[in-house]
């Protein structure tokens, strides 16, 4: 067993009398993607800020890349890269100058710095705008430059705080591809997101954070299995067919106005065939059929409490 890239136990943080993190434990294996999933205000960003040495925890312990965040912050800083929600770029410099600034701060030599900057501009599709001031960049370009700047130091552990929030679908796909490439290169990624598909798409493990507590943790598939919600939806042409089907199957949720019947089921071929056989035997005419597997949305809504609803 190698040292985990990130290990935290009992992390607590309050701002004033507002408890933001209420004792969370995290364990991230090196070379994997870990997603911290949660609604706005769940404490995701605070967790990243503590793990990246930006702020101190009130209680608990955390180590990143084998260094304690409180006792050896410089050791942690040398191993990590952080790209936050708000772009951390210098608006008064060009894209290339921003990258060279990072190279200088990482004490790369002049030639090495230029080589690295050129390589990242290429990789992040920023070559054409390298000489333009960042203040003229689009949102997607800023986000790419932001991540490129973070990668100048070749971090082993990468923190990405909502990396695709506010990006258009295309930029989002590009960002996902970049993240996958990084992980293929051995980088550990700690990702926060409020998008369930993003966690599903990228992460090997997901922790769901709500009101400062981890309410569920596991592989996306494990989490999905824990939540009921898989069903087959049958659509009928008229109310008579719906009635007949409901009688034949003897179960399911019927929706009179939409003329649909939802039958619990995992959507496997065998169970589907059984279902259709039963309907055939009763001579029920089914208009159409769709299979709904539980997704992380179901997990999310099952596990997190909606503040709006409570209010």
């Amino acid at each position: 067993m190698t040292t985990p890239a990130i290990a935290a136990s009992g992390l607590r943080k309050s701002f004033g009398d507002q408890v933001v993190l209420d004792g969370i434990d995290l364990h991230v294996t090196a070379g994997t993607v870990f997603a911290l999933l949660g609604p706005n205000g769940a404490g995701k960003t605070t967790a990243v800020r503590i793990l990246s040495t930006l702020i101190r925890a009130d209680g608990g312990q955390a180590s990143v890349a084998g260094h304690d965040v409180a006792a050896e912050p410089d050791g942690v800083r040398a191993a990590i890269g952080v790209t936050g929600q708000f772009s951390a770029v210098d608006n008064l410099l060009t894209g290339e100058e921003n990258l060279l600034l990072m190279a200088d701060l990482h004490h790369l030599g002049r030639a090495e710095g230029r080589r690295k900057a050129a390589e990242l501009l290429e990789q992040f599709d920023l070559v054409e705008s390298a000489g333009k001031l960042v203040s003229a960049y689009s949102g997607g370009m800023r986000r790419r430059l932001d991540l490129a700047m973070t990668l100048v130091g070749a971090p082993r552990v990468l923190f990405l705080d909502e990396p695709t929030t506010g990006l258009d679908p295309r930029s989002r796909q590009t960002m996902w591809r970049i993240i996958r490439d990084l992980v293929a290169g051995g980088v550990t990624v700690f990702l926060t997101t409020q998008y369930l598909d993003e966690a599903d798409e990228l992460a090997g493990r997901v922790a769901v954070l709500d009101h400062g507590k981890v309410v569920a943790e596991g592989a996306p598939d494990e989490l999905k299995r824990r939540v009921p919600g898989g069903h087959v939806r049958l659509q009928f042409a008229d109310a008579a067919s719906l009635d007949a089907a409901a009688r034949a199957l003897g179960e399911g949720n019927r929706d009179e106005s939409a003329l649909t019947l939802s039958v619990p089921g995992d959507g496997g071929v065998r169970s589907l065939r059984g279902l259709l056989d039963r309907l055939d035997a009763a001579a029920v005419d089914v208009g159409s059929l769709s299979v709904h597997t539980p997704d992380l949305d179901d997990v999310f809504f099952a596990l997190t409490t909606d503040k709006e609803a409570v209010r």
């Binding site: 040495t53 930006l54 936050g84 951390a88 008064l92 701060l105 004490h107 001031l133």
Partner: protein
């Protein structure tokens, strides 16, 4: 230690690059002292000259005025730093710097070094303009070197104070308060008229506030007149500002950033 210096040099290059790209701030910081010079020499100068001619060791009013203008040049220069530091703090880039394995103080020392260099350039230009307005200094090489030394010390001191104000302010409006400090205090000092022509409480304040000894020392050095105890009081005030500014700035920079 060498990393701290290297990182400071990197941050200095960053600030100088900002300056080159956006010279507007520098022009404004330089424009105000020149404007005051124009106003006080060109507009009020005639009337003030008459008064000065009757004073013992009077001379031309412009000769009296330049040291105060020089101090204000340094002050305006420092207030630019308050704004630049505040802009850094309120933008995301500072979080990036804080999560990197760099000498943290270099973010601030880069600003201070940049400001001091900038101020020397501004002060030189202001003296050049003053010469065009008829300023006739009597300083020898030693006097000029001592003037440069005091301008540097003042710039260093006021800039550290400005860095702290920039860190403490929540936004640019807050950071702008520093301008008030460097704009109002000189008017209540010996910058524009001698303190003995002032009345009552104003005179007491003008004689004891920090800028008066600095201005009097600069004036003495430039005009070749005796400086007296002003020099030491000026140096003490500068050292006090520098230490207070540095300690305050360091404490502000070390605390956890707001959530």
């Amino acid at each position: 230690m060498s990393y701290a210096m290297r990182d400071s040099a990197t941050m200095l290059r960053r600030n100088l690059r900002h300056l080159r790209r956006y010279p507007g701030m520098m022009i404004m910081a330089l424009g105000m002292p020149v404007l005051l010079l124009l106003l006080f020499v060109g507009v009020f100068g005639g009337a003030l000259n008459a008064g000065f001619a009757t004073r013992p060791g009077g001379g031309a009013y412009v000769d009296y005025l330049v040291s105060g203008i020089l101090l204000m040049t340094v002050g305006y220069g420092a207030s630019m730093t308050a704004l630049a530091v505040n802009r850094d703090m309120t933008e995301g880039i500072i979080s990036r710097f804080r999560t990197m394995a760099i000498a943290r103080v270099s973010v601030l020392t880069g600003h201070v070094l940049g400001a001091v260099l900038r101020t020397v350039v501004s002060a030189t230009l202001v003296v050049g303009v003053a010469l065009l307005f008829g300023f006739r200094p009597a300083a020898g090489l030693g006097g000029w070197l001592a003037t440069l030394g005091l301008v540097l010390l003042l710039a260093f001191a006021l800039t550290w104070l400005a860095v702290a104000v920039g860190l403490a302010a929540k936004n640019a409006e807050g950071a702008n308060l520093f301008i008030l400090f460097v704009q109002v205090l000189p008017f209540l000092s010996s910058a524009f008229v001698p303190t003995d022509t002032m009345s009552g409480a104003v005179r007491w304040f003008a004689r004891h506030e920090p800028f008066t000894p600095v201005i009097d020392t600069l004036r003495g050095l430039l005009l070749g007149t005796p400086v007296g105890s002003s020099a030491w009081i000026a140096v003490a005030w500068c050292a006090g500002f520098a230490v207070a500014g540095y300690v305050w700035a360091r404490a502000l920079f070390r605390r956890d950033p707001a959530a």
